[in-house]
Amino acid sequence: MNDHSIITVENLIKKYNGHTAVDGVSFDINRGEIFGLLGPNGAGKSTIISIMCCLLESTSGRVTIEGIDIQKDSFEVRKIIGVVPQEISLYPTLTARENLSFYGQIYGLSGKSLKNRIEILLDMVGLTDRADDILEGYSGGMKRRINIAVALLHNPKILFLDEPSTGVDPQSRRRIYDTIQELNRAGMTVLLTTHQMEDAEKLCHRIAIVDKGKLIALDTLEGLLDLVGESDIIHMIARDFPAGAVESIEKMDEVQKVSLDRDSMAIQLLHGRESLAHIIDILISSGTHVESIQIKEPDLETLFLHLTGTRLRG
């Protein structure tokens, strides 16, 4: 834990019926940063965030938020966090204003302060005009904006967002990004989970990559991309990779790593374009039926492939 930390996670473990969903994860989140937990579906991100939001109890390990151990005093923690669940956790037959009013009262707001806060938030998410419409008539993106507004009613110090842009149209996604950045500029610490690279790349100051319940990398975007260095990733879909061909590719000087995943092969190598012809020669001469080839420059996707040998989007 450093002096800037607002959240500290130490050796967090969560087991369900013998299956380890979170396996010894530790990290700090600094005050005022946007921190991303990136990983494929089922990696353990939602379990980690659920424990941090006091929804789940960990099997072992410790989480402190603003110095408060969440297992010892979760009630105090819940006062200072705002949570935006992955699903639209609203009442569809109530209006947006009624939903906000209900949750506001749950957070202890009432009277004028509640009314004012609702107006501010409706304005922030751009739905003042539709405030008195039943939520059932809203688009998915509009509902998601109200879903975020609900978490901000009590002006929390820390905002947790679980997959904030899942199932959202590009326009609403842009608005959600703007809202998160605006809140962060105002001093709010944000933790988000995502399997969308775009979320992490556009929003996060630091990114933790999670796979199979473990934290496998944590740094700024630039720091993480440095792990891949100057390499390119060639991603190939083909049938019947002969063992001999894979071995020949691995022996090439430029090739840094070869990962096989069912009918796809990911080859990390320096100067990908120059080496591609040689690789294709090897595969065709060994009788492999190549269906598609993609050369990718370093990004979080290639980093994830580099670290795990599998694609982020499964």
Binding site: V83, E87, S89, E98
Partner: protein, 393 residues
């Protein structure tokens, strides 16, 4: 405490739901009306309880008792002069029960002495026997009041010789006491039992059935929806205790059920002249106890199933089974004994017993203590299971 915020939100959602309102109020009103009007004649024929009476006294008060029994619609009273023959007829199951009025019954009453009315029952018809016992207990209770009044007066050395004097004594005593003792005695020669019309059966019967749909089916589905839509998880991450969340759900389901049952009883009273009994406080307590136990059952169903479909099918099965064997569709006492025994594992049977006690026997709060106690006990068991198994995830 914030549970009321959740309860108010839930009620607001229900008020907006036209289907829910239809199911809660209009559908039961239609079914009660149709069943009561269409099946009235059939109903009257089917619920006759036979009683053989031996009047060994054959004096004013015993004759009054016989007339009292004959005036009750659901009783089919026959007289037998020979006690031995009467006992044989009941033993041979020719009659379900025999009432023996002892010799000197009238004399005992007016002279303030203890006496006993004897009922000999066929044990295979327990509920019918209970009906007759309750009728006689109600009558005996009023007669006992007379005896106590006479004994009290006699204790002061004033001799009493006839019923007219008894009534005068009690009338004078009534000036110094609450009005109710006078009222009780003044009704002693006539029936204060309500009429057992088809609506005495169908109003509470269908009202309880639809209450169960509201509390068990709609109540459990509401909780499951809250879990499936993620709103329950969102509430858990807010500064509100789990007890307040569950309390809010219970309060909204209870309020909905209580209003529904009350409205349907008032509907029965004003539209079909249903007798609500003389003790409205007892009626409110009974309605509250029924609703509370039904709410508990709804909560238990909600925690024992995982999906809305499961909740719907299990609730329908439970509600329809309880209604059929518990006495919602026909009087419990016309069912075979084994079904009556099974029925008393259901909310419906205890609810209907309580309604009969108030609407027909007019036994007041004391008369429904057993039923209220059993309903509260069921409620404790249901809530106990629900709370111990409740998962917020």
């Amino acid at each position: 405490m914030k549970f009321h915020i959740i309860a108010i939100k839930d009620l607001k959602i229900v008020i907006r739901d036209r289907n829910a309102i239809l199911l809660m109020f209009f559908l039961p009103m239609i079914i009660i009306s149709v069943a009561g009007l269409a099946l009235g004649g059939e109903f009257q024929q089917n619920i006759q309880i036979d009683v053989l009476v031996v009047d060994l006294d054959n004096d004013d008060i015993s004759k009054g008792l016989v007339e009292f029994l004959e005036d009750i619609d659901i009783l089919d009273v026959d007289m037998e002069s020979n006690e031995f023959a009467a006992r044989e007829r009941v033993k041979n199951q020719e009659y379900g029960r025999l009432v023996i009025i002892p010799r000197d019954f009238t004399q005992s009453v007016i002279t303030g002495q203890d006496s006993e009315l004897l009922i000999i029952n066929n044990p295979t018809q327990e509920s019918q026997n209970t009906v007759v016992e309750k009728i006689l207990e109600g009558y005996a209770s009023r007669i006992s009041t007379s005896v106590v009044a006479v004994k009290t007066v006699a204790a002061y050395g004033i001799p009493v010789f006839n019923e007219e004097q008894i009534l005068q004594i009690v009338g004078v005593a009534g000036q110094f006491a609450e009005p109710s003792p006078v009222a009780v005695i003044s009704e002693s020669t006539t029936s204060n039992l309500g009429e057992f019309s088809p609506f005495t059966q169908y109003v509470p019967g269908f009202a309880v059935m639809f209450l169960l749909f509201t509390t068990v089916q709609v109540g459990s589905v509401s909780l499951i929806n809250e879990r499936e839509s993620g709103t329950l998880r969102r509430l858990v991450t807010a500064p509100i205790s789990k007890a307040e969340i569950i309390g809010g759900k219970i309060a909204s389901t209870f309020t909905r059920g209580f209003v529904q049952l009350t409205v349907l009883m008032i509907f029965g009273h004003y539209v079909f002249n249903l007798n609500l009994g003389s003790d409205l406080v007892a009626l409110v307590i009974l309605i509250a106890a029924i609703t509370l136990s039904a709410t508990g059952l709804g909560m238990m169903v909600a925690v024992l199933v995982t999906t809305e479909d499961q909740a719907n099918s299990i609730s329908s099965l439970l509600v329809l089974t309880m209604s059929a064997i518990g006495g919602s569709w026909w009087p419990l006492f016309i069912e075979p004994q084994f079904m009556q025994d099974m029925a008393h594992f259901t909310i419906t049977a205890w609810a209907m017993d309580g309604f009969y006690d108030l609407l027909f026997f007019d036994l007041g709060l004391v008369g429904i203590l057993k039923e209220v106690g059993m309903l509260v006990l069921m409620c404790v068991v249901f809530f106990g299971v629900a709370v111990s198994k409740f998962k917020f995830e």
